[in-house]
Chain length 306, copies 2
Amino acid sequence: MTDTLNGVFAAVLTRLGADGAPDASATARHCRWLLENGCDGLSVLGTTGEANSFTVDERLALLDGLAEAGIPGETLMPGVGCCALPDTITLARRAAEHGAGGVLMLPPFYYKNVGDDGLFAAFSEVIEAIGDDRLRVYVYHFPQMSGVPLPASLIERLLARYPGTVAGMKDSSGDLDNMVTVARAFPGFAVFSGSDELFWPLLQAGGAGCITAVSNVAAPLAHEVWTAHRRGDVAAADLAHDKLSAVRRAIAAYPLAAALKAVMARGSGDTDWLRIRPPLMPLSDADVGALLNALDGLGFALPPQP
Amino acid sequence: MTDTLNGVFAAVLTRLGADGAPDASATARHCRWLLENGCDGLSVLGTTGEANSFTVDERLALLDGLAEAGIPGETLMPGVGCCALPDTITLARRAAEHGAGGVLMLPPFYYKNVGDDGLFAAFSEVIEAIGDDRLRVYVYHFPQMSGVPLPASLIERLLARYPGTVAGMKDSSGDLDNMVTVARAFPGFAVFSGSDELFWPLLQAGGAGCITAVSNVAAPLAHEVWTAHRRGDVAAADLAHDKLSAVRRAIAAYPLAAALKAVMARGSGDTDWLRIRPPLMPLSDADVGALLNALDGLGFALPPQP
C-alpha cells in the first residue's frame, strides 16, 4: 500500500441546477477552485455532497461531467456506498474507470446490527465484482449518520483479504481515540479525519489527512495545518488549527451542507448555491445572517472566486 | 378517507433467484399462498423483503412481475421509500399504475435530525410529483432501522395538506403508546402495527391492522386474531394472540428475514429460500436447528405449500 492518498480533501458540495439536479459543470468549477486553494483532493458525492439524495444515474452523470471538465481523476475520492450493493458496484466501477485516486465507501446502511460477517460479505462482494486493480477503497465510518459502525476487527479482516485494495478510512465519528487506534494498528492504512478540529491531532498520531465539509470554504486554513505539519512546524500548525477550528465551530452551529451553501452563495455572489434537495433544507434568512456575522467576526473570507 | 386498507398484511419475503436477484415468479407464488392462507394484503419490498438491498430497476421488475403473475394490485402495499426522492417517485408511480391499494413510504433515511420541515418537504415533493389521485400513502415509522422517526406533528401537517392521499402509517417502533396516540388523534387514519404482539392491543384501541414479517409463515394465526376481533370475540382473539406471540418470540430470537427464510425453506422443501443478499446473512446451521426445534415445541407448522 504505497499509493494511498493524503492531505486536505474537501467533502465537496454539489451545486444544483435550476431543475434541482446536480450541475456537473458548476460543480467542476467549484472543484477546480478548491484544488487551486489548498485542497489536495476532492471527495465528491459524500454526505456533504448530498450523494444519497441523488439517483445512481444522477451520480454517474456528475462523475462523467467532472471528467469531461478536466478534473484530474487522481484527485478524486468519490463517495460510492449505497444500500444496494449493485449500485455501489456501478458507482465504484465508474470511478475506477475515471482513474479516481480512491473511492469512499459507506457500508450498506439501511439494515442495522448486521455484524462483521455481513459487512465483510458486503465489501467483499463489491470489491470482487469490480475486479479492477486500480480500485482503492477507503471505508467510511460515520455511525451517527449511517447507523452502521465499522469496527477495527472488520478493517483487519478486509486488510488481510484485500491488502492492495483496501487503502484507508474516513472517520467521521468524532472519536479521536478510534482514529488513532486504527492508524497505529494498521501501518500504511490511511486514516482521514472527518472533523477539522481532529485533523491536526490525528496528523500528530500518524493519520493521513482530513476529508471535511468545512474545507469547501476554508481549505486554505486546513492547507496551512497540513504544510506546517509536513515541515515539522508545530507552532504554525497549532495556530492554523486554532483558526480552522473557530471557523468550523461557527459553521457547525447550523446544518453543515446548508450552512456551507449559504457561505458559498455570499462569497461567490451566486445564489444558485442555495439550492439543496429535501430532506435537507436551506437555512432561514435569520440563520444565514447570524452565521455570516459570526464568520465576519472571525475575520473569515472566502478566497476570490474564478 | 373511506378507502383505507385494513387487516393482516405480510411484510413479504423476497425469494431470490440463482443470480441473487429477486425472482418475481417465485415471489408471486409466495404472495398467492399468503392470500390463500390468512393475509388480507401484501406489503412487498419492505424491510423484511430486503427492498433497500435491491436497485430501483430490480424493484420495478418485481412489481411488474407480480402484476404479470396476476397478484391483484389492490392487495399490494409495496415499500417505495428511498434516500433519493426521484427513486421514491419512480417506485410509487409504478405501484399506483399497477393499482396498488397503497404504498408504504419510508422517509429519506440517510440524513438524520432533518426536522419536520425537511420531512414534510420530502413527502410533499413525492406526492406532488406523482399527482395521481389513486395514490394512497402509508408512512413508515421505524426509527430503530431508519433513524428517522415520524412524529405526530408531521402526520398532522401531511393530513391537513393531503387528506385524500395520506392514508395511514405502519409503526414498527414497538411503542404501542405511539400507535394508539396517533390512531386516536387522527380518526380514519389507518394505523398498522409492525409487531405481531402489538396487533391485538392496537386493534382494541382502534388500529387498522398489522404488517408483519412473521405473517410470512404465521398468517393463519394473525387472521384468527383479526376475524375474532371483527366478530367481537375477545376470548378467541386473546387465545390466537397468545399463540401468535409465542411464534413471534421464537422467530425474533434471530435476525428476522434470515430466520423466516429458513422456516420457509423447511416448510416448502425449497432451499432456494435460503438465499439472502448481504449485508443480511443466512442463519448458521446451528441456529436453524434451534429455531426449528423451538417452533416444533410450539406445535407450529406452515400451511401446505402449493
